[in-house]
């Protein structure tokens, strides 16, 4: 199975206005699909529609069309939206372990993971007292321990400092090199050039 996702003729409206129409694309293993567009163009809507959080007007989305066994596609992808999904009352390490438990992932060493994202020493502080970027880093640990092939990331670099952005891009490179694929939106320019980059530009409204 080299094709992870095919989308055909996706159209969406919000408040009677067309956001995008007739979008079609395919994501293969190793691909990075960078979705571009101005604010309000419908990038987030598109990503949320891919994972089924938002309903589209029309179109067809098929995950893993080549897969022989018909297992649940939700097992095979990871979505991160604008909200980090971090509980303010819990500490970094608690957030991390509970998150892993929920997605059914085994983690060998939670401390090692926290060290990787640069949060060692802050593990006992309730996440609510950490900065937005640090909370984001807790959430991003998922990218290190989960082993799903398809990542769908909405503005993953938000609130991260340059080191964080660098770190994340390294992880992206590892992921695609290992045959994973990424669908993402970002206003940040990538400093890393993926080997197989697709750009999809959404022009809001005038479709």
């Amino acid at each position: 199975m080299s094709t992870l996702l095919t989308a055909k003729q996706l159209s969406s409206q919000r408040a009677g206005r067309a956001l995008f129409s007739d979008l079609s694309f395919t994501v293969q293993r190793g691909d990075v699909l960078h979705i571009e567009g101005v604010n309000g163009a419908g990038k987030s809507t598109l990503l949320r529609a891919l994972v089924g959080l938002v309903q589209l007007q029309s179109g067809q989305i098929e995950f893993f069309p080549d897969a022989a066994d018909d297992h649940d596609w939700r097992n095979q992808l990871l979505f991160m939206g604008h909200k980090a999904g971090i509980k303010a009352e819990l500490t970094a390490i608690e957030n991390l372990t509970l998150q892993a438990k929920l997605c059914g992932c085994a983690i060998d060493d939670a401390w090692q993971l926290l060290a990787t994202v640069g949060l060692l020493g802050l593990e006992d502080v309730p996440a609510g007292q950490l900065s937005a970027g640090q909370q984001r880093r807790i959430a991003l640990t998922r990218l290190w321990y989960s082993n799903v092939p398809l990542w769908i990331l909405d503005e993953p670099f938000t609130a991260l400092d340059t080191d964080g952005i660098e770190l994340l891009q390294q992880r992206f490179a590892e992921h695609t090199a290992a045959g994973g694929a990424i669908i993402m939106t970002s206003h940040q320019l990538l400093t890393w050039t993926p080997t197989r980059l697709q750009r999809l530009r959404i022009t809001g409204g005038d479709a």
Partner: protein
């Protein structure tokens, strides 16, 4: 089911279809309702016990009957909207709810007015009046939830879920209220439990029931058409329809 519904899932088709029904529905509703009301209020004989005050049943009974069935219709629309993802059903919900609320309100008020000569009080915690009051609250909840959302598609979905929860609850509520009523009031004589009605009263009642039913239908059809226009405002076919209307309007004023 889907295959049968499919051609009717296009807003434009439904709009024109309803447009064809609407004049007929409105005219028959006006005629039947007028006939039923005039017959009931003027020509039907007075009751030997209640005198003329019983005549309020020609309004009370039909509205009470339809208040219930409209809530069930609401829940069915919500169910269809959820299962077949039919946005038209969601709009139907928005069209039905205010009509149902109004009918429930009228039946409550007429029930209370009827209570004054019968029980000597405007409000009695009678089982049916209480159930009707709760039904009124259920309608208010559905409408309040619908209007609380800024995105009406989400509002309709949320209100639909509430309507379905409500419709499962209605039999339980009715039963509990009846049980509560017998517990606290013993066997009060209710005006609703009466010997069979004389034919001279029954026929105008049936006519006015039919009239109120047609009225509900006509109102819902008109509301549904408005809803379709409002939701599809930016579609070309709506602009076409509106322009046509404006053109006929203009030609009328010119002729005048």
């Amino acid at each position: 089911m889907w295959r049968w519904l499919h051609p009717y899932a296009k807003p434009e088709v439904v709009y024109h279809l309803l447009g064809r029904w609407q004049p007929w529905l409105s005219i028959t509703a006006a005629l039947t309702l007028g006939l039923g009301i005039v017959w009931g209020l003027v020509f039907a004989p007075a009751d030997y016990q209640q005198g003329d005050s019983y005549r309020i049943i020609f309004v009370h009974v039909p509205t009470a009957m339809f208040s219930m069935s409209l809530y069930i219709a609401l829940a069915i629309a919500a169910f269809v909207g959820r299962v077949w993802q039919l946005k038209m059903a969601d709009w139907g919900l928005a069209a039905i709810a205010p009509v149902g609320l109004t009918f429930t309100f009228i039946s409550l008020v007429t029930g209370a007015i009827w209570g004054k000569p019968m029980w000597g009080t405007w409000w009695e915690w009678d089982a049916r009046l209480t159930s009707q009051l709760i039904l009124f609250f259920l309608y208010v909840g559905v409408l309040a939830l619908y209007h609380a959302f800024s995105d009406q598609r989400n509002g309709a979905k949320a209100a639909g879920i509430l309507a379905m929860v409500g419709v499962i609850n209605i039999p339980i509520i009715r039963y509990s209220v009846e049980w509560w009523n017998t517990l606290h009031q013993g066997a009060t004589l209710t005006v609703f439990e009466r010997p069979p009605m004389a034919t001279s009263m029954l026929i105008p009642l049936l006519v006015s029931i039919l009239g109120f039913g047609l009225l509900a239908g006509a109102l819902i059809v008109q509301r549904m058409r408005n809803e379709i226009l409002r939701q599809e405002l930016r579609r070309p076919w709506v602009k076409h329809v509106l322009n046509q209307d404006r053109a006929t309007e203009l030609s009328k004023t010119e002729q005048a």
